[in-house]
């Protein structure tokens, strides 16, 4: 049984909060619901970004997701 959207959101946020890696690839979230299609995971993760519960981090070539409190913030590092 695939998770509901809200369950999936929670699972993703939890992963972002607890994972040893502070920043995660979209693929790292696939395991949050093995039954969901990649596109579904992506849509939900993006929804979380819109809600402010996740943030994007990009090197230009690669993009990652992070919990806003854990993201690597160049502005702050300066």
């Amino acid at each position: 049984m695939p998770l509901s959207d809200d369950e999936l959101k929670d699972a993703i946020c939890e992963k972002a909060a607890k994972s040893p890696k502070p920043q995660l690839y979209i693929k790292d979230f696939y395991k949050c619901d093995p039954d969901a299609k990649p596109r579904k995971i992506k849509n939900v993760a993006n929804e979380l970004v819109r809600e402010g519960r996740l943030m994007f981090w990009s090197s230009g070539s690669t993009t990652m997701y992070a919990d806003p409190s854990r993201i690597q913030n160049e502005e702050k590092n300066r």
Partner: protein, 426 residues
Amino acid sequence: MAKHETPLLDQLEGGPWPSFVSDLKHQAETKPEVYDILGQLELSYKDRITHWKHGGIVGVFGYGGGIVGRYSDVPEQFPGVEHFHTIRVAQPASKYYSTENLRKLMDLWEKHGSGVTNMHGSTGDIILLGCRTEALEPFFWDLTHDMGQDLGGSGSNLRTPECCLGQSRCEWACYDTQETCYHLTLHYQDEIHRPAFPYKFKFKFSGCANDCVAAIARSDISVIGTWRDEIRIDQAAVKEYVAGNYPANGGSHSGRDWGPFDIQKEVIDLCPTECMWMEGDELKIDDKECTRCMHCINVMPRALRPGADQGASVLVGAKAPILDGAQMSTLIVPFMKVEKENEYEELIEFIETVWDWWMEVGKNRERVGETMQRIGLNNFIKIMGLEPIPQMIRIPRENPYVFWAEEEVEGGFDRDIDEFRARHAA
């Protein structure tokens, strides 16, 4: 921000080619932060090294692509470029502009950013070079609200698709590259703006095998126009070429005396499939042997035209060398109709079949061409639901290492060693 001495860069102001240094200096007069661009670049010329830090988090809210963060590693010296992010603005298909549109965009960019651009980036975007973090959202607001325009792609996204000018000004385009590019760009806005993939993904659209947008070398899905009937021949024009009345190759070689046009040497002998010949003064083509390489058409544009039953070949997997070496795209669908009528249904289905699989099995930072290599072409073909055909390969395999599936082999794989030994003493 004040002027810096730029003795090294100054040496790039002479010469016949347009000088970016002169241009920047000119702009600096009204946008003084450009002096810091020049200053930092001069320092790079002195030190022979970049003075930019590794990029990082910046973007507009809700977008995972379109902005590349950039900070100076000598901000005290050059405060004007302390933040120097680029903004990728999606270009109109094949880069036609009205001056009205361009002027408006420039006004906006002078207002929010450095006033320096690349027309265009290598992927095709309008690149706006140098923006402070706090100016990103205001710029984006104005771009969307005042101009109705939007950002392009970056990161692990679909990158801004690009096309050759195609039917708009070229007689050879076998499908409408611009409309296809535009349609798919709009169709996949979400994929362009929000990371969805293991790594970047690019589409490029060329109208014919000349491939003026270098799709076969630079795009994960390359759609290249072709035809499946006969090259259209105007024999009267052939005669004109033979008589030397029309310039060969549309005049491409007119700067040098190559001697009189020789249809045998210049066309027939260079046809890679040897499928052309003269019969009297008529040019004949054995079209079923033609591989539509475009050479003869290029050389005699007034006499030859692509066939009328047009479409495109779809190839997959091109990329630059990082990590395992460069790849050209591989021919997967030899011929596909590419039509607005059915909203590019076939192509879209193809793309999404690729994505659904690649999003699942592609490793992080693995381009689709590399995933194809990893799993093998046969598996890829199966995943795509296609039949294997010889058009997909250059040559059949040269090694004997065929994987047979158990169900293909009479009696399967299970055998009883004792039974075997009863017939074959050890």
